[in-house]
Symmetry: C2
Amino acid sequence: MPQNRSMSPSPTPPSGPEGPALGLRERKKAKTKAEIQRQALRLFSEQGYAETSVEQIAAAAEVSPSTFFRYYPTKDDVVLADFMDARTMQLMIDAPADLRPLAALRHAVVQSMTSLSAEDLALESLRNQLIRTVPELRRGLIAEMTRPIGLLAHALEQRLGREPGDPDVRMYAAAAVGALLTVAEPGEEVAHAIPDVEAMMQRLDAAITRLERMLVLPEAERSTQ
Amino acid sequence: MPQNRSMSPSPTPPSGPEGPALGLRERKKAKTKAEIQRQALRLFSEQGYAETSVEQIAAAAEVSPSTFFRYYPTKDDVVLADFMDARTMQLMIDAPADLRPLAALRHAVVQSMTSLSAEDLALESLRNQLIRTVPELRRGLIAEMTRPIGLLAHALEQRLGREPGDPDVRMYAAAAVGALLTVAEPGEEVAHAIPDVEAMMQRLDAAITRLERMLVLPEAERSTQ
DNA sequence: CTAGAAAATAAGAGTAACCCTCAAAATCTC
DNA sequence: GAGATTTTGAGGGTTACTCTTATTTTCTAG
């Protein structure tokens, strides 16, 4: 297990493969934040989302409730944070140039997933299950839609050399995110004990295939200059 | 003013143009619900959304807080309720058969708007302004996306004779709603004192025109039967 | 018109997510 | 090691929302 989270704070920063030599303060913050999320996800899956109070989470993570709210402004955020984050979008920007937009998105998601440690992958899986099963969280995820739309639009602008703020790109991103988000529905195969990443990727593939048949980004208008 | 809301409960039901002869109980309920919304919107526009408590609204509408929550399960709902309701979707189903999907949607919205009394139109306008300006409400509207998606998908199935539950139709609806919802952005012309319906329709037209260029519903697959 | 069923309301106590402020503790800098 | 800065803890306050119970209002029969 090469991941060094949640254990002894080595006096000399270990700075793994990609650690840009954080100071002690930064490392502690990251550790606290991760620990809060770990405990929260554990409690949620054990006793349910609504049945777990922030106070309990804080106690389990050995911090005060106010500290909880400093790291996660809302209770939702402890599950929803970092969904479709800037890192993944950078992967999309850097994806092979010949990939169509949604193929590039898929590429980025795959890259992002495979870069996770086994431990983080398990957490990710848990997060996904919670989002799919707890209506409150599904709503929260959808409510946050505008953020991923902005990120996706930005990535598309970069990849395709479009004008910043191109309304076609923005609307394309909005349609895509809207269509893909609602795929994560509680649908049929709810009873899975551990919904693995395979299943998630299969759903994503199917959705992207379907979406590419109906959604096409128009060519850039020939600007006057 | 042919609208008979909020005044003397006529002993004999007046049953206006479309009143299906409600009993006294039903009429009173409708009146109470409308009055709560009226007062809520008034207070929100006067002192702000967050600054207005449910207790205040209940007091202004002369009901108890518990009654408020019986009619509107959340504070959001007093603004967001009935957005893209079943009535509008029926108008879409009944729209001229030669209209393309999004044109039919536009048709339904226009029909729905023009059927409103001046008073209701003013309320509608206020609602729109609130949704556009209060971030909390914008989030709430987006979070509710799955409901209008379902309604739109159903209407499309009816109009186009598609199989119930056709995944293409569903995804098309999701993409359309996602794209159109995020159009209602606080954008440029925020400073409008009274954002009239004209402006709203213009935005909708522009958005639909743009969307039709990039989103196309695939033909139904030839089923085996 | 009145008795009793059914529904709507009010009142009140309780929970929990957040917000704010202030003092104590930890970390950084020199 | 001293002082500036940041993070944390503690505690009090607000308010959306829930649940329970008693009272009032409307409906329905006879």
